[in-house]
């Protein structure tokens, strides 16, 4: 047992810190700290800075231009980024599609798409969920029918995150409607500029435009855009989901969020004293901090196993459930800490240079609280995760 980082890990952490101090644009960090939207350009600027350093693709093998970090290094990077208020890397091309192409795609697909993901030429989005296929993803209905050297795609995807920025979408489509559910699905790459693709915004309850519906009407997709074999898409989809679950605990984000709550609670006054000294509030902060201390160690235990090549299985489900409960609790504390000034609906204030209403930290917290209810719903809802845990652990 050794709870401390190795000298190599510490050297790496120092390198990450130095990089963030030097290269992370101040206005970007400020936006992230205030919970403002970064927009496409802001995100691309950060990606370009990371790419210049060779750090944009931490999990890619070196042969494809990745950093090939181990799990501990990735964890250190995520944690330092969270504390520095650096944006999260947009995962769709870099950590979802790319591993699938690297494992199942053709050489031509890797040669064409991977460099364009790195240099920011293509912005990717994910076409998985459908109105009738949420947690039960395999019941998806979007059809792709082979006609000559094209597929004709018809159907609808939903919850497509940042689809409004995307040049391409990777989609699960049904190519054999007569096969058993999981066996008739294929993995298709679709150019968003193809005629018949339509993106419709979904405005979330906090007023943000984060997700979209993507409609396909007789969309012609060249057969060379099929990844791997026809009707084997479910295998690739599952592989992708294991990558989606790295950093699932969100320890860094929670730690940074908790620090922010404490700052607020020291500034807010209640009964003539800082809110931080209110016994009820102090107890709630302490409880979530204690939970986070333990989860951080749970996370490191799993990471250190992953670093020596043992794949996290059911542990990832446990981290998803506990990690999202903790993050949502922290968001709830932030909302409460703001008091009455949580009430102004500040979406316009967030985007403009207007003076804030009330303390500057109060503006986004209530909207964020509602936005982060998504954490326990997406990526396999917490109920789905509990089902997985029970199934694996009870051998039922």
């Amino acid at each position: 047992m050794d709870l401390s980082y190795s000298p190599e890990d510490i050297a790496f952490r120092d390198e990450v810190r130095a990089f963030l101090a030097e290269k992370l644009p101040k206005d970007t960090a400020e936006k992230i700290r205030n919970g403002e939207e970064l927009g496409k350009e802001g995100q691309e600027r950060w990606h370009a800075l990371l790419n210049e350093k060779g750090w944009l693709a931490p999990n890619w093998p070196k042969e494809f231009g990745g950093a090939e970090w181990n799990a501990v290094q990735r964890h250190i990077f995520e944690e330092e980024c969270a504390f520095a208020n650096a944006p999260r890397i947009v995962p769709f091309g870099l950590s979802m599609l790319a591993p699938v192409l690297q494992k199942f795609g053709s050489k031509a697909q890797c040669d064409h798409y991977l460099p364009r993901i790195l240099d920011g030429t293509d912005w990717w989005c994910q076409g998985y969920s459908e109105p009738g296929a949420g947690s039960d993803l395999a019941s998806l209905k979007t059809r792709a029918v082979r006609e000559g050297d094209h597929y004709i795609v018809n159907g609808q995807k939903t919850w497509t995150t940042l689809g409004q920025y995307a040049d391409w979408i990777f989609c699960l489509v049904r190519t054999d409607p007569d096969a058993k559910q999981q066996e008739g699905i294929s993995f298709l790459l679709i150019d968003m500029a193809t005629p018949g693709v339509e993106v419709r915004p979904i405005i979330l309850l906090d007023g943000t435009h984060e997700v979209n519906e993507v409609w396909f009407t007789d969309v012609k997709v060249p057969v060379e855009n099929l990844v791997g074999e026809e009707n084997k898409g479910w295998t690739y989809a599952k592989y992708l989901l294991t990558h989606e679950r790295t950093n699932i605990a969100g320890v860094g984000a929670s730690a940074a969020g908790l620090d922010a709550v404490k700052r607020m609670a020291r500034a807010e006054m209640s009964g003539g004293k800082p809110l931080m000294q209110n016994p009820q509030f102090a107890a709630r902060i302490a409880q979530v901090e204690i939970d986070l201390m333990a989860m951080s160690t749970t996370n490191l235990r799993i990471i250190s196993k992953a670093a020596v090549g043992q794949a996290p299985g059911v542990e990832a489900s446990m981290l998803k459930v506990k990690g999202t409960i903790i993050r949502q609790e922290i968001n709830d504390l932030a909302r409460r800490a703001a008091g009455p000034y949580a009430m102004p609906f500040a979406s316009e204030m967030v985007e403009g240079d207007n003076d804030p209403i009330g303390p500057d930290y109060a503006g986004p917290v209530a909207a964020q609280y509602f936005n982060y209810r998504k954490l326990s719903i997406f990526g396999g809802s917490n109920e789905i995760q509990r089902g997985i845990i029970a199934k694996v652990k009870m051998g039922g």
Partner: protein
């Protein structure tokens, strides 16, 4: 970073687990609990011979361990098997205090403890001190080249079996001062010492101790006069690691029993674990169990660091909450069978919940965590 046990600790864990699996069956344990002594001398000797007590002391005191992770490994196994023998009282607290403060002559007792030949008890808590470590109203007064103790000690575990009681008493200062507290080695046969013994709900025995003009030579003092608080806090910290690990072990057994029951018990024609209402709740227990395991690792790993007290408060608060959840949910998901004394879960659940009453409960440790975080 490395979360694997060393080879030696792995061996210790394996040996201990095997011994207890063979010897510490539910039936045996129930007999032990109901016995007059409240623990088994055979088990005690057997475990001492295996080196279990030696693992709790450092090499300079004749042991071969003594670090946070040694304590955690031993007590997790004791907890898994629901062991009621007084390792905490005789070894961690009694032996640990003598090892920390004792003169060369006094240190001989540590050797006896490691060999399994001597029992000790730590007579510290008082009827009104609750969990406050510095609240000591028992008095020690110098008189005729000796010392006279007067006062009462509450719920002193293992007092009846102990050859010596290690009694805390105030030589100076106010009732809550950390300074002014001394420790004394009081022989079981000392005049003026009275024990009112009783069994405890989760096994083992304790006593209410009265000290009525107990006269001791000054050589009975352990460490410097009025200066024992630091050593008490250190050994209580070690005891908290032990209690956390023991509770973790008991939580493991509770969840294993519950899993087996959910898979075998059939109602409405199918195993009850296939009902989602139970499956999801069982998943939550497993998540909390991993949280508890991490909390023990954090506490054990920080036992010798400046962050010790905050980490321990954190761990015991978490384990208090998670333990209660596991105990209550395990009973609930079992149903009626878990309400019977002869079913193993009954004792395990009692150990989990009642451990929260030693050296600070969930609320006490939350308050302490807040105070230490603000400092």
């Amino acid at each position: 970073m490395n979360f694997d046990l060393t080879e030696e600790r792995q061996m210790l864990q394996d040996t201990l687990r095997r011994f207890l699996k063979d010897r510490y069956t539910t039936e045996n344990r129930n007999k032990i609990i109901e016995s007059e002594a409240g623990f088994s001398a055979d088990i005690w000797t057997g475990l001492a011979e295996l080196g279990v007590i030696g693992a709790l002391f450092g090499e300079d005191h004749g042991g071969f361990g003594g670090a946070g992770f040694d304590i955690a490994v031993v007590f997790e196994e004791l907890g898994r098997a629901g062991v009621v023998e007084p390792f905490l009282d005789t070894a961690i607290l009694g032996g640990g205090l003598i090892a920390a403060l004792g003169t060369d002559d006094q240190q001989a007792m540590v050797e006896q403890v490691i060999g399994g030949g001597l029992h000790l008890a730590f007579a510290h808590g008082e009827p009104t001190s609750r969990y406050d470590l510095s609240r000591v109203q028992t008095t020690a007064k110098a008189e005729d080249d000796g010392i006279v103790l007067n006062g009462r000690k509450a719920v002193v575990a293992n007092a009846e079996a102990a050859g010596h009681l290690i009694v805390s008493a105030r030589e100076s200062g106010a009732a809550d001062d950390e300074a002014g507290i001394s420790l004394f080695l009081v022989p079981a046969e000392a005049k003026g010492l009275t024990l009112r013994g009783y069994p405890m709900l989760s096994g083992g025995r304790a006593a209410e101790v009265t000290l009525d003009d107990v006269r001791l030579p000054t050589s009975a003092r352990l460490g410097a006069a009025g200066d024992a608080f630091g050593a008490i806090a250190t050994q209580v910290a070690a005891a908290n690691v032990a209690l956390a690990a023991e509770t973790l072990g008991a939580m493991e057994t509770a969840t294993e029993l519950t899993r087996d029951y959910l898979m075998t018990r059939k109602q409405f024609g199918r195993p009850i674990g296939t009902f989602q209402a139970l499956a999801h709740r069982f998943s939550d227990l497993l998540i909390e169990l991993e949280q508890a395991r991490s909390a023990v690792i954090n506490a054990a790993g920080h036992l010798d660091t400046a962050d010790r007290d905050r980490q321990i408060a954190s761990a015991r608060n978490l384990i208090g909450r998670a333990g209660r959840l596991v105990a209550e949910e395990s009973i609930q998901m079992h149903g009626g069978i878990a309400m019977t004394q002869e079913y193993e879960l009954a004792h395990i659940a009692k150990r989990i919940v009642m451990n929260d009453h030693r050296f600070g409960d969930t609320d006490y440790h939350l308050e302490r965590f807040i105070a230490l975080s603000a400092a």
